[in-house]
C-alpha cells in the first residue's frame, strides 16, 4: 500500500479499524504512523454515538425559551414567537396589555404632574418662608429694614451692650 492510499484510509477511518495491509505499512512508515495517531486523537477526543439525540421535550423547551424571549423583547424579530399555543399567547397578551395599560399610565402620570403643580402653586415658597423667619429674628436685618444701617457696622459686643442698655 502506498502512503497516499494509507492516508486516505486513515481519513476515512471512523472507528471501523484499518486493514492488515495498512497496519503493516504503519509499522514501517513513521510519517504515516504519526498521521494515524493524529487522526486517532481527533476521533477519540471528539467521539460520540451516532445514535445520540437530545432529551425528549427539546421542542417544548425551545418554544418556552422563545416565548420567554418574546415576552421580554419590545419588538420580536418576526412579529410573534412561533410554537405551541402558550408560546403564541404571550405576545398577544402583551399587545392587549399595551393597549390598556399604556394609556392608563400616561393619564396617571399627567394627573400626578397636574396635582404636583397645583400643590406647588398653592403652598408658600419654602425659600421665602425660611428667609422671612431669619429676618424676623435677626437684629441686623431688623435694623436694616427699619432704615438704620449702624447695626451692620457694629461689633457683636457693642450690639450686646446696646441690647442690655435698652433693657435697663
Amino acid at each position: 500500500m502506498s502512503c497516499r492510499e494509507v492516508r486516505e484510509a486513515i481519513r476515512g477511518f471512523r472507528g471501523l479499524g484499518l486493514g492488515e495491509k495498512a497496519r503493516r505499512h504503519l509499522a514501517a512508515c513513521p510519517r504515516c504512523a504519526a498521521e494515524a495517531r493524529a487522526a486517532a486523537l481527533l476521533r477519540i477526543g471528539s467521539d460520540r454515538s451516532d445514535e445520540a439525540a437530545p432529551r425528549p421535550g427539546f421542542e417544548t423547551r425551545l418554544m418556552a425559551r422563545l416565548a420567554s424571549e418574546a415576552s421580554t423583547a419590545t419588538a420580536p424579530a418576526a412579529g410573534r414567537a412561533p410554537g405551541a399555543a402558550g408560546a403564541r399567547a404571550t405576545p398577544l397578551r402583551i399587545d392587549a396589555l399595551d393597549r390598556l395599560v399604556r394609556p392608563a399610565l400616561v393619564v396617571s402620570a399627567a394627573l400626578a404632574l397636574l396635582a404636583a403643580g397645583l400643590y406647588v402653586r398653592s403652598a408658600p415658597p419654602a425659600g421665602e418662608t425660611e428667609l422671612a423667619s431669619l429676618v424676623e429674628g435677626d437684629e441686623v436685618f431688623g435694623s436694616l429694614l427699619a432704615g438704620h444701617a449702624g447695626a451692620l457696622f457694629a461689633s457683636p459686643d457693642d450690639r450686646a451692650d446696646a441690647t442690655e442698655e435698652g433693657a435697663r
Binding site: R37, A40, S46
Partner: protein, 205 residues
C-alpha cells in the same frame, strides 16, 4: 383523479415541506413550520455540538441556541443557498463561540494527567483495545488536549475528518473560502500530530 393532477399535488406537498418553504413560513410566525424544521434537524445539530463538548446537556444548550438564532434570522434566509449549509453556519459559529471559553494548554493538560491515563491514551492512539474505564480516561485526556486547539482549526478538522465534508462544503458552512479551509486543515493536522506525539513522549517519562 387524473395522474397529472396527482403529480402536481404531490409536487406541491413536497415544496410545502421543503426546508426553504418551512423557513419562509417560520419567518412569518408559523409555529408548525418552525417545529417541523426543529424536529427534522435537531439530531444533526446536537450530534455536531457533541463533537465539541463532553456533556450532553452542553450539546443540547448549544442546539437550543442554534435554533433560537435560526428563528431570529429566519427572515434573512435566501432559498438559493442550501438550508443545511445555512444551518451549519449558525451551528459552527455557535460552537466556535463556546470553544473560545474552553481553551486549555496541552502542556498543562499533560502535566495534570496521571501516568496511567496517558499510557492508556498512548495505547489507544496506537490502535490497542482498552478496558471500558481505560478508554473513558483516555477519551477525557484526548478531549482536554483538543480543547487546546484554536476553535476554527478544531471545527475544520471535525467537519472534514469526522463529518466527512469536503473542503468546499466546510468553506460554505463556515463562511470561508475553500483555499483557506485547506490551509487551515493542513496547519491543524500538523498541530494534531504534535499533540499526539507529545502524549507518547510524556507517557514514556
Amino acid at each position: 383523479m387524473p395522474g397529472s393532477e396527482l403529480l402536481e399535488e404531490v409536487r406541491d406537498l413536497g415544496d410545502a415541506t421543503s426546508d426553504a418553504a418551512l423557513v419562509a413560513r417560520a419567518a412569518e410566525g408559523d409555529a408548525a413550520a418552525f417545529t417541523s424544521l426543529v424536529e427534522r434537524w435537531k439530531d444533526r445539530v446536537f450530534r455536531l455540538a457533541l463533537r465539541f463538548v463532553r456533556r450532553p446537556e452542553d450539546a443540547e444548550e448549544i442546539a437550543q441556541e442554534v435554533f433560537m438564532k435560526l428563528y431570529r434570522a429566519a427572515a434573512t434566509y435566501r432559498s438559493g443557498a442550501p438550508f443545511e449549509h445555512w444551518l451549519l453556519r449558525i451551528a459552527t459559529n455557535t460552537c466556535r463561540d463556546r470553544l473560545r471559553h474552553a481553551r486549555s494548554r496541552p502542556e498543562t493538560v499533560l502535566s495534570q494527567t496521571t501516568a496511567n491515563a496517558q499510557a492508556w491514551l498512548d495505547a489507544a492512539l496506537s490502535g490497542a483495545a482498552l478496558e471500558i474505564h481505560e478508554a473513558e480516561a483516555a477519551r477525557e485526556v484526548a478531549a482536554d488536549l483538543l480543547d487546546g486547539l484554536p476553535p476554527k482549526d478544531r471545527i475544520v478538522l471535525v467537519m472534514m475528518y469526522l463529518e466527512g465534508m469536503s473542503a468546499s462544503e466546510v468553506a460554505e458552512a463556515t463562511g470561508s473560502t475553500t483555499a483557506a479551509v485547506k490551509v487551515r486543515a493542513l496547519r491543524a493536522r500538523r498541530t494534531l500530530r504534535r499533540l499526539a506525539s507529545a502524549v507518547r513522549q510524556e507517557g514514556r517519562r
